[in-house]
Amino acid sequence: MRLSNIASTFKKCRQEHRPALLTYTVSGDPNKKKSFEILKAISSHADICEIGVGHNCNTGDGKQIQNSTYRAIKNGIKIKDTFAIVKKFKKTKNAKPCILMGYYNSVVQYGENRFVRKCKQVGVDGLIIVDLPWPENRNFSKKCKKNSINFIQLLSPTTSRTRMKKIIKDSHDMIYYISMLSTTGGKLKVSPEKILENYNKIKKINKSKNLVIGFGITIKTISSLKKADGLVVGSALCNEISKSIKNRQNSVTNVSNMVKNIRAKLS
């Protein structure tokens, strides 16, 4: 069986003895054109690109991603634009696997089937729906699998072992472990050792799944978590865009440099 783009990316990183670097930026932030340019620029350094489908009741997100989301919505981003951005991005030279990350209401209003079909059509490799947990996501994740799209299950420090086993059983190539009790972008309040201890417990349940860690990861903290299959940096990048705008600097260069520097920490 042919490996999915996501699975083969993890395989490649493993051969290079380093974790995969996953980035998260919000589609349309700071505007449609620039968000595409940011994506294009960071994909030379990132392994997988998560693209946020902004929603204005994003209860899982902290201030940094909220700011990016409000900016993108204010500047007129629509779901069809996000699909257009993905389509264009996937045709660029350094294109990496794309994961759309968003909230369930965007999918409900677009129509579940139509959403999945469109994802397949434009080349989306995976989906993270923050507020569609297991078992609520059972039907939807099956639909994704049928269309060769990875539905990415989330695990958290509050997830019991019994529940973890069930979720992992229903998962595809990649699983996302939330490092701590927090919204996105919170200060890392748990020690990296403790996070890796939990990480190893999950890995023991099924070694073949690619497990990434996210929430609270910055350039300062990322080296300490290098043992993971993959690490996600999101809020730090969103914050860099906000800072660039405030200081009237080029957000594309700034974010791209930041990702480059983060990537260097993982070699």
Binding site: H55, D61, Q109, P133, L154, S156, T158, L181
Partner: protein, 413 residues
């Protein structure tokens, strides 16, 4: 058409996915909240069957909340309108001045059982926040209230009360700066602190367990009303109409609970949403204005949104009704046609207050929320027979709205 199940409490009429009528409600929350929600649901299911806990609840309802609240006829208003009799259930007589005290008290008791020392809650009109701060003080819990900055200004009276009770008022400056963002921010805080903190959702909205706890708590209102109505009329009258304002829908759920099983030709349930300013497109009436089903704060419901699923801003003179969504329980009552929903504009609600103040001075002083319900009662009463009994839930006291009313009318009421 959706059908209600006979002999089963409305809050328990969900399927295994916690959906009412197969399509409203559920638990659409981030993974981190799954466990605390499950723990809370298990604890509540245990407590609601525990005689000791029920006695405790009843003790505090009686000695702290101050039940039963009065039920009486508005004789002058009835005479003036010349149709149906208008009666009032003065829930605003409960401790603190509104129905929010029932839910707040029960949540504080549950927090103690769950051994949580911190309690958080959202608020719009400020009553949910004020009552939670009161209950927190009473039961020795540390309390944080999330409130939109727009509401902090327009409901300053309640805001002061919260601080006086020792609660921290956390201003929420994102989005519309009203209730919807306060609820979002409160849920965000809970995601980060669910190991030490108990969350109280201020109305019958949110993930399933919060809908259940809230409606179960406010049901006290209709338990009393049933006794009072039977005492007054000897039985449930042949033509009874129960009118209640609906924002999230907690007071209406409590006001109607015991009467849902009656035939709708005998007991009509009328929910009045906030129609917003006259001649404005903005409103807070998802049920009346045919909003589409979407996910808001963890539950599927009728919600005011755009084609992309972004939650739209609402507008109402009444901060307590200024919410884009509505309880999944009300969605169920609407689709099963058990309740009828309509709306009243800001102006109609103010007119209703003026009339009540003129005719029933010294008797009742409803806030802007129940003013919406009174407006509907005033509208329909003249067309109805004298043996029709209209009962309006006066669920909030006017004190908090004094400033808004003065600004709008140019004088105090």
């Amino acid at each position: 058409m959706m059908k209600l199940k006979k002999g089963k409490l409305l809050i328990d009429q969900h399927n295994k996915d916690y959906l009412y009528g197969g399509k409203f409600g559920g638990n659409y929350v981030p993974e981190t909240l799954k466990k605390p929600i499950e723990d809370l649901a298990n604890l509540f299911e245990k407590l609601r069957r525990d005689k000791k806990f029920l006695n405790e609840r009843d003790y505090y309802f009686k000695n702290y909340v101050g039940v039963p609240t009065p039920f009486f006829k508005l004789k002058n208003l009835t005479k003036h309108l010349g149709g149906a009799q208008i009666w009032c259930k003065q829930v605003s007589k409960a401790n603190g001045g509104a129905h929010k005290i029932y839910n707040a008290t029960v949540h504080a008791l549950i927090a103690l059982k769950a051994k949580k020392r911190f309690i958080i809650g959202d608020t719009g009109a400020g009553y949910a926040g004020k009552m939670l701060s009161m209950a927190a003080k009473k039961f020795g819990l540390k309390c944080k209230i999330f409130m939109g900055t727009k509401d902090i200004v327009r409901q300053a009276v309640n805001c002061r009360a919260m601080r006086k009770n020792g609660a921290e008022v956390v201003p929420v400056d994102s989005g519309s700066k009203t209730l919807v963002d306060a609820v979002s921010e409160c849920m965000r805080y809970w995601v980060s602190n669910c190991d030490t903190t108990h969350m109280c959702v201020g109305s019958t909205v949110g993930p399933n367990i919060f809908i259940k706890i809230c409606a179960w708590s406010t049901a006290q209102i209709s338990r009393e009303l049933m006794v009072q109505v039977k005492k007054e009329f000897g039985r449930v009258p042949k033509k009874l109409k129960l009118i209640n304002c609906v924002g999230g829908g907690s007071s209406a759920m409590g006001f109607w609970n015991e009467f849902i099983g009656y035939d709708r030709n005998q007991v009509e349930l009328i929910g009045v949403e906030a129609g917003g300013p006259k001649n404005s497109k903005r409103h807070a009436a998802p049920l009346t204005n045919g909003a589409k089903i979407g996910v808001l704060h963890g539950a599927l419901q009728y919600v005011i949104q755009d084609a992309e699923g972004q939650i739209e801003e609402t507008e109402s003179i009444s901060a307590g009704l200024d919410y884009p969504g509505v309880s999944p329980l009300h969605c169920l009552l609407k689709d099963s046609k058990r309740a009828r929903y309509t709306s009243a504009t800001d102006e109609e609600s103010l007119e209703a207050l003026k009339l009540i103040s003129k005719l029933e001075k010294g008797k009742i002083r409803p806030s802007l929320e129940p003013a919406h319900a009174f407006s509907e009662a005033i509208k329909i009463a003249p067309k109805l027979s004298k043996d029709t009994i209209i009962c309006v839930d006066s669920c909030g006291d006017q004190k908090k709205d004094k400033q808004i009313i003065k600004e709008r009318l140019g004088h105090n009421l």
